[in-house]
Amino acid sequence: MEKKAETAEQKAESAHPLSEQQRGETEQEYSQQRRSSLAARLRAGDHEAAAELVDLYYEHIYLFMRRLGHSRQVSEDLTQESFLQAWRHIAQLRDGKALNGWLYRIASNASKLYWRKHAGGEPASLDGIDVADDTQTAPDKVARYEQINRLRGAVARLPMKLKQAVVLHYMQHLSISEAAEAAGIREGTFKSRLNRALKRLRKHFT
């Protein structure tokens, strides 16, 4: 039955082929609609919606914490804390469009509070996994591996605000407006922070 439905779906798709751009727009619209409906249910205090929010975002928030330099255990704790805080402050969520920025802002604040409480603690370096690319020759691979490791180290050593900007925009893929919302600053300020961060990172490769 499911297979039939799938085939019918495929046929329908081939009968009305969508361009890559149209498909992207449709998916974006769908995800926007989904987020709007999720936000409305969250604001109404729907516990199932809270569970859906967790499923949708917990991996992102955990990675966000890791990329900000928290250890595995602390990242787990802060991820939990972020969702509990989000639930408590659900009334502050404006609409679906603001969902990303709002949740990351809560997570950023949880991280900031942690660093404040543990002022002496050193942020952990960004853990990496091996980069395999079969199209490259051995010396190319080594050079690239070195570059990536240097960049990883440079990001980890950035001052917290600059690191947060890089992580939000380039690693968590938030738009400028969402990332600015998450950082709690205006878009212009965020862009200049991002530029300063890139400038510093570029210096490591001169």
Binding site: Y58, E76, A91, L126, G128
Partner: protein
Amino acid sequence: MMTDEKLKELLNTVTDTTGDPAPSGLNEDIKRQIPQTLVLHRGGWDTINIIIDLRVSKLAAAAVIIVTMVLLAGVFGERSSADGDIYQDGKLLINYCLKGEGASTSNVLAGMSRFYEYLIYRGKEVTYYGDNIDPADKDALLLHWKLADGNYRVIFSDLRIEAVTPEQLIKLQARMLQKKTR
């Protein structure tokens, strides 16, 4: 020196190869900890938080507070402790804010969505139309909620407040729908 493009491309690779996946079961742990009953955090109504969240210009922020205070006084004709807090916060912020920059309709509308949240917080059944209205249409509905006598309190986009019967409300809604479909 490395180009921006190259740096961004490298950052993408760093992203793809950085960080371990979230431990399995973390989502279930979190879900178990989320309380079944939602208790709204009092701080959600702290005016200072509202201003920070809106990130509007100082005067616009002050305008939002004034509108909120006027509405609270005019709409309820009473003052609960929460209203009193907002009133006090408002006084402080107005003293602090009234220097420079221009307020805009969109800022006031953004403030109105906060007011909507406030009404929900007070247990009112409110309908907010702010995301879909044309601010130039003065008779467009911005908010409505039911009164104890069966009529409805309505706030229009020009921020005037009226009490209307259910029939009048339906007419106002129908007018908005017609305008939208045109």
